[in-house]
């Protein structure tokens, strides 16, 4: 991304203003929802995602007083079925409008976060376009997938932290972990970043801006010590007031949501909405490198050692990323999400949205140019996916035994993910989310100058 000072080059043309982008995106999504209804009625292949039909059925079951888990393959929180109850009495596309609205909200949040960190208008606009005009993004909401809701919640948590609103961040964090289990991986970096030297609840924490990093003033550099020392000081002050508050509020919200759901729907809720996601081993083909291994062993049982071994790479990578990058919170959670998806036992395309919504937030700090490094990363990543999809087509629609080739395609996809991750790490301009408070301690004052 080019360096910029405040000149007219940084101001995008009027037609590209954020407001007009948002309006255009809204029109596009409305059009796609209407088109989707037409395609469902007139063509063999439906536009609407199968999952949306599952949600709607579960919602109508809930509306008539029954358990949404009576609907097979409904594996979400009862909250989702509750949100979609208007599908039964208002219009069946209500859910799609809700998800597309969340999708637009994510665009708005991205813009807000970048503006808070004083990113120049032009770069801000390009970053927002990476989300709003990503074909994957606008199809996922309009097809009826609920991931945009989760993305909106995650970004709102980041905004709340940036504004010093601890209890709100904790509330939404507890809710989002109840909704979708995966955000639990963000717990450690969030807790680490709530260091009382850099974050005090009730006050807006000082943010490290885009500019300060660009011009490399000594002020900002005093924050970057070796990662080991950072980790040590962080662990020492583990039980600060803010951290305890965050833990209690988010834990409380999470438990309360689960308790209410369990009260209404019992063990079915526990198995389908929570335990299923923790123990899911699907032998059916998917992008994960583990699928063939799981299928070949499915007739037997996995020993505890085998389960542990398969979890080790995931755990190691998560721990390494958090240790090295927790201060740059947004970058950290972006890397964690990409790695989590890549090393997971099951990978489906909808998981990609989890990091697509975070990508625009790290792009302004990347030294990677679109030509040719950026393009190479995009081509490799999409190419590896397409290669896998071709073999998947041969298996599912031509009935050929290509399990081995599919598995190799999965290995190549992991290689592509690793390459892109490593490149992004190498080209990132490390920038902590919060700067330290100009505290009264003389030691700190000395170091600032």
């Amino acid at each position: 991304m080019s360096r910029g000072s405040e000149n007219t080059d940084d101001v995008p043309p009027k037609w590209m203003s954020f407001r007009s982008l948002l309006v255009f995106s809204m029109i596009l999504r409305v059009f796609l929802i209407v088109y989707g209804e037409w395609q469902d009625a007139h063509m063999e292949v439906r536009y609407t995602d199968v999952d949306y039909i599952v949600f709607s059925d579960a919602a109508s079951l809930m509306a008539s007083g029954e358990s949404p888990y009576k609907r097979t393959t409904y594996r979400y929180s009862p909250l989702l079925a509750l949100l979609l109850t208007p599908n039964s009495f208002f219009h069946r596309s209500f859910g799609k409008f809700l998800f597309s609205a969340s999708d637009l909200l994510v665009g708005w949040f991205i813009h807000t976060i970048l503006k808070e960190r004083k990113v120049p208008e032009k770069i801000c606009t390009y970053s927002v376009m990476v989300w709003l005009f990503n074909p994957f993004t606008f199809t996922i909401g309009t097809r009826g997938n609920c991931e945009p809701l989760v993305c909106a919640m995650i970004l709102w948590i980041i905004i709340s932290l940036m504004q010093g609103n601890l209890s709100q961040a904790a509330f939404w964090y507890g809710l989002v972990v109840h909704f979708r289990v995966y955000p639990i991986i963000y717990a450690l970096p969030i807790i680490l970043v709530l260091d009382s030297k850099i974050f005090r609840s009730g006050q807006k924490p000082p943010l490290e801006n885009w500019n300060t990093g660009q011009t490399k003033t000594p002020t900002s550099n005093t924050e970057k010590k070796t990662f080991l020392f950072n980790l040590f000081t962080a662990l020492k002050s583990l039980f600060s007031r803010e951290r305890i508050m965050f833990g209690l509020i988010s834990g409380g919200v999470f438990l309360a949501c689960n308790a209410v759901s369990f009260y209404f729907y019992g063990h079915e809720f526990l198995h389908e909405a929570l335990l299923y996601h923790l123990t899911r081993t699907d032998p059916r083909h998917n992008f994960s490198i583990y699928f063939y291994h799981i299928y070949l062993h499915y007739e037997g049982q996995f020993s505890a050692v085998e389960k542990l071994i398969s979890f080790l790479p995931q755990f190691t990578v998560q721990f390494a990323l958090v240790s090295c990058f927790w201060q740059d919170l947004v970058f950290c959670i972006f890397l964690q999400t990409v790695a989590f998806v890549a090393f997971n036992k099951v990978i489906t395309a909808q998981y990609f949205v989890w990091f697509y919504c975070l990508l625009p937030l790290i792009l302004p700090w990347s030294r990677m140019k679109l030509k040719w490094e950026g393009l190479l990363c995009i081509i490799l990543w999409i190419g590896a996916q397409t290669h896998w999809l071709l073999w998947g087509y041969m298996l599912e629609f031509k009935g050929l035994n290509v399990f081995l080739q599919l598995w190799v395609a999965g290995l190549l996809f992991l290689a592509a993910n690793t390459f892109v991750l490593v490149k992004i790490i190498q080209r990132h301009r490390f920038s902590p989310l919060f700067t330290r408070y100009e505290s009264s301690s003389p030691k700190h004052v000395k170091k600032l100058h």
Binding site: H297, E396, V402, V422
Partner: protein
């Protein structure tokens, strides 16, 4: 008078039997040892509705016949119990490619049945272990009036592989009009999906289809059904099968080893890149401050 009628009816049956036994291989006797089952009297909408709730577990021929025996009508409700023993399945085939195919069956109804005042043809497809029917897909077919009624009983889990699932049965109801007797054939297309198969060294697992069970039923609530044909799980005459890709056992060791090696290698790459990047940043700091 009554005895004369009975004699002529018996003659008719004899002739029909003679014809059937002399015909081509497409025609065969429907049932040998179960010729006691002629008609059923059921109170449910579907014949199979009470099957799995009355402690039946498998769908094999003997258990299924026992179930039908229990559903039999008592003799005073059974005036048209004589059924000519001719095969009604004209054609049976699995069409399509890949994991999603269609089971095509065409059935010929004899004009004799049009006098029975039973207007609903009920077909029971006892599916073999390796395939399943999607209840939601079938419901949408019903909404499009392809079938008048359809339901799946048994194991309807769409996700488990075949060695972790049980069989299922699809009950299809088709309205029969007088024109169907004239035109000759009723065609059925049942969409089916493959489960993940048990491992096989050849790379494919063969799933064989038997014959469906056919009944002709009345449309009102206390249903009376005429047993037309009780199929066998494996047919003697025609072989309808589907070869589904299966994992190859021989791959197990090196797939597992290479999978873990790849995971470890990727993890190490990311770990090294992260640590190096942190070190570079801290070097920059120590130079500047």
């Amino acid at each position: 008078m009554a005895s004369q009628r009975r004699r002529s009816l018996l003659t008719l049956i004899f002739i029909c039997c003679a014809i059937s036994s002399a015909s081509s291989d497409q025609v065969r006797t429907s049932y040998g040892d179960s010729d006691q089952i002629r008609s059923l009297c059921i109170s449910d909408r579907f014949i199979m509705e009470s099957y799995f709730t009355t402690s039946h577990t498998s769908l094999d021929d003997s258990e299924f016949r026992n179930f039908l025996l229990l559903q039999q009508c008592s003799s005073e409700h059974d005036p048209t119990s004589i059924v000519p023993a001719t095969s009604l399945i004209q054609h049976r085939n699995v069409t399509g490619e890949g994991s999603h195919r269609n089971l095509l069956t065409s059935i010929k109804l004899l004009p004799f049945y049009s006098e029975s005042k039973l207007h609903e043809l009920v077909i029971l497809e006892r599916l073999p272990l390796g395939v399943f029917a999607d209840p939601f897909e079938l419901q949408s077919l019903q909404q499009r009036r392809v079938f008048s009624d359809v339901s799946v009983f048994g194991d309807t889990n769409l996700e488990l592989p075949s060695f972790r699932s049980n069989r299922s049965v699809v009950e299809i109801h088709v309205e029969v009009s007088p024109s169907d007797y004239e035109n000759g054939e009723i065609s059925l297309k049942l969409p089916l999906h493959a489960r993940y198969q048990p491992l096989d060294d050849s790379g494919y697992s063969r799933v064989e289809f038997g014959e469906p069970d056919l009944f002709l039923c009345s449309s009102h609530e206390q249903r009376r059904c005429l047993v037309l044909s009780i199929g066998r799980s494996k047919t003697e005459t025609r072989s309808v099968f589907w070869d589904i890709p299966a994992g190859i056992r021989g791959h197990t060791e090196y797939v597992s080893a290479l999978t873990f090696a790849a995971a470890v290698l990727s993890a190490i790459s990311i770990l090294v890149a992260s640590v190096l990047s942190s070190k570079v940043e801290s070097c920059k700091n120590s130079k500047q401050s």
